[in-house]
């Protein structure tokens, strides 16, 4: 690469944010155009990056390493591999879609788009940072914009949700910081570099302690049961763009942390913690699904479904086999697309009906058939219908866990499969109540799906079908990097 593409992708949004900030007040309209241009630019760069990416290679590509704080061995080290590549692309894509879905906001659009762009930098940075302190800085960078996004543009209970989100995730992050410092001193390597830390020689006891600290940071973000309580409030109260990015990307940061750092750097601890993580993951799958079943609020239902789907991801990670981890990463990518799309749809629905309560809806298929069709399509993808992308993630996770052979893994799979059935239950029942049945006349006339909204949904529909029908390229890319990591 003649130019540092990763740094460009990471920092162009900040440039965009500064441009929005400096445009004078009358530039309320220009803010959304600047945001759109910026996000399209990084989307283009990320597609270019994916096309130039060598999927058959397992290690880091497009790396950049510069001295930042030489005195304490902190480098500005970026790199992308088969695991992080899908997420860089997904972040850029979801950002464009969020800008499009927020196109018509009237409440302080300038500040909204500026915060959105700042959030994007943090999200992309997490996936490509290879120095632990840099990783931590990007990890924390997403908290403040998300707090404001929820707090200013959210729904009725937004202040509570925003501060709960901030406090809860910060609590995990600072414990992660202590873990990072302990790694620096106890690994015998005096480095913060994630790739070099994998060569450490830590005793298993010390590994367990450090893993516990890192676990707190990652588990709260995923979110794993029982640290998930911030998620329903944050997802429900956030504005549409906020929910899409929260569910689509922020949750993935936690699981990514396990794969990038937990397993390679602390292998013995990962093995000893794996059963506990598997149990919590399976509880999360069942609990999330059961909680979704009883929800009356549509957005809260989708939020709990995220807990359930991320449970599959964590089950795959805890199995520590290549197939299962491939499934986990694929499930992360798929969940980002599918649940991101679900939140987009719920947002569009809210704009029409001004209610999130399922009881207030019904018979939408009569009035807005295209919308209802896409909604059904997305629900089928979410429950893991074969032929759509959601199936592959869950299947590979279960397959990889089951073929481990132990009784424990088999039992976990048996219980997790019940989660799939429950998933079908809450999604199909929700569909039945929302798009079928009698139309609730109180809703009045509903607008048909507009051209802009269709353009927002189309890319995700294409991806879901594409990955569902032919997932081989993406699985191969992920697989090479997973084997590279597990081999260490």
């Amino acid at each position: 690469m003649g130019f540092n593409i990763l740094s460009l992708i990471t920092f162009i949004p900040i440039v965009g944010m500064l441009v929005i900030a400096l445009v004078p007040n009358k530039g309320e309209k220009s803010a959304k155009w600047i945001a759109l241009i910026t996000s399209l630019a990084i989307l283009g760069l990320s597609i270019f990056l994916w096309l130039s990416f060598n999927g058959s290679q397992g290690g880091m590509q497009f790396t950049e390493k510069y001295h930042w704080i030489p005195g304490v061995n902190i480098y500005y080290h970026l790199g992308v591999d088969g695991i992080s590549m899908p997420f860089v692309f997904l972040t850029c894509l979801l950002t464009v879609l969020c800008v499009l879905v927020s196109w018509n906001i009237t409440n302080k659009p300038k500040v909204f788009f500026a915060l959105l762009l700042l959030l994007v930098t943090g999200m992309i940075g997490v996936f490509i940072a290879l120095d632990f302190i840099l990783f931590y800085i990007f990890w924390e960078l997403v908290l403040l914009p998300m707090y404001f996004l929820i707090g200013i543009w959210g729904s009725a209970n937004r202040m509570y949700a925003a501060i709960k989100f901030f406090l809860f995730t910060l609590f995990g992050s600072v414990l992660m910081l202590v873990g990072i410092l302990m790694l620096y001193f106890n690994s015998g390597l005096q480095t913060f570099d994630i790739l070099e830390l994998t060569k450490n020689s830590l005793a298993p006891g010390m590994q367990n302690w450090i893993f516990l600290l890192l676990f707190m940071g990652f588990a709260i973000k995923v979110p794993m049961f029982p640290f998930h309580t911030w998620l329903p409030d944050a997802h429900t109260e956030a504005p549409t763009a906020g929910s899409v990015l929260l569910a689509g990307i922020l949750l993935k940061m936690g699981a990514y942390g396990f794969i990038r750092i937990g397993i390679p750097v602390l292998p013995e601890a990962s093995k000893s913690w794996a059963p506990a993580i598997a149990i919590l993951a399976v509880i999360g799958i069942i609990y999330g699904a059961l909680a979704s079943l009883i929800q009356k609020d549509l957005k809260r239902l989708v939020a709990f479904s995220s807990v359930s789907h991320m449970g599959f991801v964590m089950l795959g990670i805890s199995s520590l086999t290549p197939t299962a981890i491939n499934g986990a990463v694929l499930q992360m990518f798929n969940h980002g697309c599918i649940t991101g799309m679900l939140f987009l749809l719920v947002g569009m629905l809210y704009e029409r009906t001004h209610t999130r309560m399922i009881a207030d809806m019904g018979g939408l298929a009569n009035k807005i058939p295209l919308f209802a069709g896409i909604f059904a399509f997305t629900s089928f993808a979410s429950l893991g219908l074969p032929g759509l992308s959601g199936f592959w993630g869950e299947f590979l996770v279960l397959f990889g866990t089951f073929t481990k052979g132990s009784v424990f893994s088999k039992v976990m799979v048996y219980i997790a499969v019940i989660g799939i059935v429950l998933g079908a239950a809450y999604l199909l029942w929700m569909l039945q109540r929302v798009i079928f049945g009698k139309y609730n006349e109180k809703l009045g006339e509903l607008k048909r799906l507009s051209w802009l909204e269709f353009v927002t949904l189309a890319p995700l529909i294409v991806i879901i079908i594409l990955v569902g029908v032919y997932p081989t390229p993406i699985i191969n890319m992920i697989n090479n990097s997973v084997i590279h990591i597990l081999g260490m």
């Binding site: 001295h67 930042w68 704080i69 030489p70 005195g71 304490v72 302190i133 931590y136 800085i137 924390e140 960078l141 908290l143 403040l144 707090y147 404001f148 707090g151 200013i152 202040m159 501060i163 901030f166 406090l167 910060l170 609590f171 600072v174 414990l175 910081l177 202590v178 410092l181 302990m182 620096y184 001193f185």
Partner: protein, 488 residues
Amino acid sequence: MSIDVVSIIPEIIITCVGLLVLLLSVFIGKKFDKAIAPITAVGLAGGIAAIFIFNFYNTGIFFSSSFVVENFSNFFRVFILVATLIVVGLSVGYVKGSVYIKRNLGEFYFLILMVSVGAMLMSAAGDLIMLFISLELVSIPTYILAGYEKMNERSNEAALKYFILGILASAIMVYGFSMIYGATGEINLAAVSKAVTEGSMLQNNYLLIIGVVMSLVGFGFKVAAAPFHFWAPDTYEGAPTIITALITTIAKIAAFAGLIRLLYVGISDFKNSLWVILFIIAMSLLSAILGNLMALPQKNFKRLMAYSSISHAGYMLIGFAAASISAQWAVMIYLMAYVAMNLGAFAVAMLVERSRKSEAISAFAGIGYTNPFISICMIIFMISMVGLPPFAGFIGKLFIFQAGVASNLTWLVIIGVLTSVVSLYYYVNIIKQMYFTKYEGDANGAVLKTPKLYYIIIAACALFTILMVVIPSIFINLTQSSITTAGF
């Protein structure tokens, strides 16, 4: 003899400027008032220049080893003068709105300059007597300054509490010094450390240990560390806000510089002393926990800042408990970040006090929309105080916690980070007031009137806070080359 005088030319300059301002304001009267602040500022700038001209290259020990010129003292003297310069700059706008300060402007600036002279002397103190004298020179003018608003009972209360408790603390400290002298037979700090090491007095000489602990009590009072913090909330709340800013920055810089001198130069292997380290750990624990917990219910901004400064003292004391060289420069970096954030925050508070006529946190309502630039800077200061990246507070905490983990104080660091999470709540509360609360008051006070100098100072502090993260190497190299040890 003449060479000795050259070393204190900066102090002489500042003292002369102070006396000049005092005498001229007595003899010329009211007409002189406008010129006082500019003359003070020029004098301070001259002092900074003098340090570079006279002291930078002529390091050594002067005045029969009571005044030490070296990188450490030069760093702190420049730091103190810059901080005083900012305080003087902020005071120009502040005194316009006060009643009693305006009547006695010459004395006001004279006292401020005396505080800075005392602080400078403290950082260059070579023996116990100099430490005590300079500490008194810092304290006594601040007692007077805290009570400057004569008819305000809060101000009187502040001054009286500060004075009585301060005298008590100084008495305990000088009693401790006398015990150190009694145990070692020396007052020169380097000689004390030699005697202590040779006689391994830290292990078996209880006279010395009690003496050191008692001096720690005195210093603990000055830095507002728990359990010696009881003066802080009332004094911070009652004193005129510009003096609160002075106490929280310059008096703290002086006290920490003096503490570094006493511990690292006077008792150079204090990390081997169980009692001393235990005492520091106890102070740090109590400060971090008490300071953060008691800040939660506060409704007055200055009182909140008092508790926040107690908690920051707690974090810095973690550095002292670590007792290593890296801890020393970590404390210096934290001090730099702390002073920048605090001066900026207090500047904003002074603007609010002036326009909204209230010191309550609720007076910050709605500033996010009336004064966007100031509020963004305030967000930077508040988030920096929590210790979140990408701001200076994070860099400060990172290095202090790093030093703590390196010295096997990981449990203390964990408590430190957990209390930082608690602190998020009350700092974000201020942000909440600025952005999420409507201003319901006199329309006159809606937009804060901001003199140009305030804009410059607030912007400079915010820029410094960001700069510390973008190019931290400069500051790290600066502090690493400024450390002081017993063997010079």
